[in-house]
Every structure is written in C-alpha cells, then in structure tokens.
Symmetry: C2
Subunit: 290 residues, 2 copies
Amino acid sequence: MTATTVHEPTHREALWELEDAFERGDLITIFGRCTVEYDGRAASSLGLGRRLLLLKPDGTALVHTDEKQKPVNWQPPGSEHHAAVRDGRLRVRSVRTSPDETLDVHFETVEQLSAMAVSGRRDLSVTGSEADLRNALLDRPAVIESGFEPLATERPTDAGPIDLFGRDTDGRPVVVELKRRRVGPSAASQLQRYVAAIEREDGDDAAVRGILVAPSVTDRARRLLAEHGLEFVAVEPPSSTGDAGGSTTLDTELSQTDAVDDSAHDPAGDATGDDDGEPARTLSADEESH
Amino acid sequence: MTATTVHEPTHREALWELEDAFERGDLITIFGRCTVEYDGRAASSLGLGRRLLLLKPDGTALVHTDEKQKPVNWQPPGSEHHAAVRDGRLRVRSVRTSPDETLDVHFETVEQLSAMAVSGRRDLSVTGSEADLRNALLDRPAVIESGFEPLATERPTDAGPIDLFGRDTDGRPVVVELKRRRVGPSAASQLQRYVAAIEREDGDDAAVRGILVAPSVTDRARRLLAEHGLEFVAVEPPSSTGDAGGSTTLDTELSQTDAVDDSAHDPAGDATGDDDGEPARTLSADEESH
DNA sequence: GCCTAGGTCCCGTGT
DNA sequence: ACACGGGGCCTAGGC
C-alpha cells in the first residue's frame, strides 16, 4: 500500500501524518476548510472555503479550487513545508528565500489527508515545439525560401540569440524568427531587434533581411513588419492537427517543397507582400537532429 | 461527509465512483500507475508511473508528479471528462474543441480515488500588481519626474495600449511603460514601439519621450533604451519586501517625493543617463482608484 | 546567481 | 471568436 489516507483527523493526528509523510518524501493532499495568505513578490489573502492543498517533496505547494487550471495560491519548488497547530487550527506554512516568500494555509477542519509515494518517469517527450520546427526547417530550408542557406541557429547578437541565421541566393544575410503559433506585435519587434543588431554588427553594405516564420500573423503585427521592411512566411508547426484547406496527414515527405512560388522577393523592402490567401505549409519533424 | 474515498478499487468500481462524482460536480483526485498521452496543439506521451490526476468540474485536468509546480500534462478548463474501462485499464479521457485536443490517462491500477465538494470564495485580491503601481504613480506623478502630468492610462495606439501617457514640464508628450519587476530587452522594444506609434499619430514637431519605469533593468535592455533615446526610472513596486538600502516600511506617505534630482533630462536623446547607483524608490498603493 | 526566451503558456479585458 | 499584454508567470539552457 503506497497511499495512506485519514478522514476527519484531529489537528494533532493530521500533524503526525504530515510529519511522517514529509519524512517519507510523499506527495501529500489535504482537503478541508481553510484560509490562505501569501506574502512575497506580491501579497494576497483568501477567505474561508473548502480547497485542496497539494504538497510535493520538492517543496512545491499548490492550493486548488474547483475552477481554473492555475492554483489560486502556490509556492514554487525549493520551498520548505512546515506544519503546526496554532489557535485551534492546523497551519501549513511553506517558505522560501530569495525572494522571501511565505504561504500560510490555515485549516479550520481537515476533511481528508492523503500521502502517496510517487514514482516513475516524469520526463516526457513533447513534439511540436519551436525546436522541432527549427529542425524541420533545417531539413527543408527551401520552405522558407528557395535557395535559402542556413548558417547558424541561436546565433548570439547584442540583442539576444537569433533562432535561425542564413543567407539568400543573392548572398544577403537573413535573420529568421520562428514561432509555433500565430504571432502578435511582440514577435515583430523581436525580429526587428535582431535585424538591427546584425546590421550594426556585420555593418555590411548588404541590407539584412528579416523573415518571421509562423502559422499566421495578426493585422497589427503584419503592419509592424511592413513598416520595418520585414517579411512573413506562413508555416504550420509540425504535428499540428489544425489544417487550412484539407491538408493531408503529416508525411515525412513534404508535398510541394520546390513549388515555392516564383514571385521574386522584392529587394525594395516593402515586403510582406505575400498574398494573404497563401496557405501555410505543414511541416513534419520526424527526424531529430537529422 | 463531503469527501469520499475508495482504495484499490476495481476498474469497474472506480468507474462508478467517477460517474457519480462527475454528476455531483465534485473535485476528483485519482492516484495510481498510469500512462499519459496528449495530442493537440503539440503532442506528448509519458510511460508508466505513479502519478496524481486531478479532475475539476469545470473541465480542467491536471497530471502531477512529485516534482515541479506545473503539471506534467494537462487539459484546460472547458474540456469534457469521460471515463471507461478498456483493455483491462481505466481510461480517463479529457477532450476539448477549438483547438481539438485530447488527453488520455490509462490507469493500470488505481490505488486511490477521492471525490470532494469544493466551496467558498475562489477570488482573491492580490496587491503588488502593475495596476497598483500605476495607481500609486497617478497619486505621485513626481516620482516619475518633477512636473510630469499624467493624461491617460491605457491610451490606445496603432501599436497597442500605452500604460501611462502624459506631458512633461516642457509640454512634450511622454510615453511611460510600467513593469513590476526587472526588465529585459522585450520591455525596451515594447516602449520603443509605443513611442514610434505616438510619433506617427500625433506627428507633432515635439519629439516624444519614452520612460521605462521598473525596479531595475538588465545591461542589454539599458543599451537598447540608450540606442533609441529612451529613459529609465527606478521604482520599486508597491508592497515589495525587497529593499535597496534599508528602505523603511511602506508608508502611505512617500518620503523624498520632490527630491527628484535636479539633473535636467537632456533633450539630445542619449538619455538613460541616470547614475547607476540611484536607489529605486518604493511606492505604496493604499488607495485604489481614489 | 543572472540573463534570455519559449510555453500545449494561462488569464483577464476589450472589441 | 480574436487580440493584446500581464503574470507572485514557470521552466529550460547558458554563462
């Protein structure tokens, strides 16, 4: 039996169970009527109510209600849990330093307390991240633009690391910013920062191009891109189920790879002139690290 | 008794309990050996292990291990929970649409299943937010700069809403961006976007000033600010316990309000020239919306 | 420890 | 619905 539960314990019984569970490194759930106070980076307080407190052996504390994905109050990993009986209530206090933060949960009554031994893998492999998108594009750089040659990923600049850096067929440097989902103004600004940084650093006469690669872009972001002569290429993230126009299931082979549309990019700079109707291409990311 | 628990139930017993709990709108916890698969905006899978599944009546599903604050897998509010016995395992499936997402948790064995009726307030009042900082500054605009006159908050522009907009003693428009914590490059870019937008819209001859108000700024962000002629004012967020130099406890009265330093801001633009050692001022935000 | 940026971000607010 | 930005964001990766 790896899970022990007590119902309606006295505060003192609950305290004993808690101390034992802390000792064993168990995952602990406490359900009961409680108040919650937090003070640290901000401050908050929560009146009486039935809630679930989750205590992890790594120092995490989570207070959950019946709504929302995020806990109504919490303490990050690395905190220290302490339990005590004060003024007829069970007080569970979770504290950490740098920054100094304290979470206090005062239980008027504990309806249930459980302790469980957790085990097993906790690392999961996620597909569909921006890194997957980057790898897929490294395999098929022509999706960005026919003849695009990748030179570096995460290239450092004064303004931060560039997702993907390369050169176009004319030999002009190209800064590529990747996003796994629809982008807003901040992504446009981010790309603009990087382009400006490369222009300052390389200082070549050749103008630096900036291309935002994402599934789609908001109107405002599109305008901001245009203002700075930046470009946009629509690409669905790998493993996305969403499709724009009866897309086929993801194959390892991308269908119209070299049908990159003959419209030459205009060197003038008022780019982003791709037709709006252009459907986003879907990428697969079967091969890791090629 | 508002919490019911069954230990080591058969899958069929667990299923009955689950259906009842769904019906009652209870908060449910299931602890046992399980695998987890997710497919939707991304995709992931997680091998066998002992974990805690939390199901909320609002459709939220959370899979927690013994580490980290964030669940290892989850489903947002609005999803629909379904339970079934398949291939000798208890399958809990949480599904939502737009975007289409499915979370499957397959329990090989259920060690414990609990259902509890949650109640009580779930809204908490947090102090120390950016809005509190804004209100404090509206009460004491001289903290930003002697003679600064606030004219609008959340003023809309082509680039998005400006936190605080006003005028300096020379009548020049001032864009203020507020941050409750140390800022990096993105905040500098954000401010720059807003300043450019105001310059385009108002189109006055008077140059638009931009001031970033935050507790502190990174080197990179400071350089970016300087490049665009933007300024920085150090202000601690209200209710912060952190102090730079034996700060007093937060009073409603701010101590050296009008000791704003006589160094006139240079109209040239290579600003941000405040001495680095300048200690941040601490604000209180006692009065809401005065 | 700090810095930088991603995230199945979540979440509230406005349109 | 989408859009936009805040968050006690959290978390990972580098330095």
